[in-house]
Symmetry: C2
Subunit: 235 residues, 2 copies
Amino acid sequence: MRYQLYYWTGIQGRGEFVRLALEDSGTDYLDVAREQGDAVMMSFLRGTQPGARPFAPPFLRAGRQVIAQTANILAFLAPRHGLVPASAASQCYALQLQLTISDIVAEVHDTHHPVSGELYYAQQRAEARKRAAAFRTQRMPKYLGYFEQIVASNDGRHALGRRHSYVDLSLFQLMAGLTYAFPGAMKRLKRRLPHLHALGERVAARPRLAAYLASERRLPFNENGIFRHYTELDG
Amino acid sequence: MRYQLYYWTGIQGRGEFVRLALEDSGTDYLDVAREQGDAVMMSFLRGTQPGARPFAPPFLRAGRQVIAQTANILAFLAPRHGLVPASAASQCYALQLQLTISDIVAEVHDTHHPVSGELYYAQQRAEARKRAAAFRTQRMPKYLGYFEQIVASNDGRHALGRRHSYVDLSLFQLMAGLTYAFPGAMKRLKRRLPHLHALGERVAARPRLAAYLASERRLPFNENGIFRHYTELDG
């Protein structure tokens, strides 16, 4: 069975977390909207397709099953493709960590859209400056300090257990995105996050992932996505 | 085994979604911080307790397992206490819906704290007015319209399958919280959400839940929680 991934074209966004799991595990998938355009997702979002109706992309079609919500998709894929230990307790813990990554990702989005996703960044720039300052100085250090401790108090190399998991992939993506969006703030934090930086480098060097990152399938970060670089938001 | 629930005292907050599942299923639990004070949670948050380290409350102790993230706790409890169908596909779909409820709950929080959780509401009132307006007019109708359709296109009475689940409990809580926080906006939407309103009433009338809601264990909504009523944010 070939999975069908549905996500907005033109950005990495939340779809990228799913893409990394598929690419790293060498799993066959079709990136549907990139092949056929964003409009192909609309019938799913309107609920006129069979299967679970998603509120928003990304969603995954696995045979007749439709699965939405990034962390939920990852929790579905991971045990099938060697990206999480087999025990129920490990999978529960992995999902806990992934959901905490989802939380910081949502907060990253709101640094440039603190008022409304329906308005342009330029229409909420003043509010964005305030929100981004709070994010850079309070939330980002708190979240990353937490994940640093998670890795350090585990085996120093992985988020959970003694082997690679989808949580490591997501931590790589989080670090990459934050480094793109907030290079100054991340540089100032670097000394405090040795395990996270080393983990990110190891993940990026995994053969299938390195090939993916060098391919055209890996879109560059840009100012339409979740991780955006605006100099004035980096303090 | 008696579960131990850890959540901030004084508010319903995210802990209430877990409490509703425990109360509705008649499951024995200790509401630890309410018995012993918020300070009892700190060693878990600092990572000096055994078991998975939570980023934030709520978290649940089940024997030696510590489980954090509201939706993750519910996904853990539900199959053990008759609050979700047995099939993996149903549990995946339930989690998808619950995570979408988590998303709107986070957006509700940000209507009164659009800049920073570290500042008081009064320090971000101007930004809150803008964010709340976008929430009331765009996000809330979009989310609730989605859930209305989910119930209507299912059996008209439940979020999934033909029986009660934890998602129904969470939809009840969402409707109750939004009605408290945004009575005007919810009144204007009422005609468009007949299934959600009926579902909320049925859930509230379930014997164990009705007893809980009438008890002192059910704290009233208040202006320290997630669902807050500020007249100026209701438009």
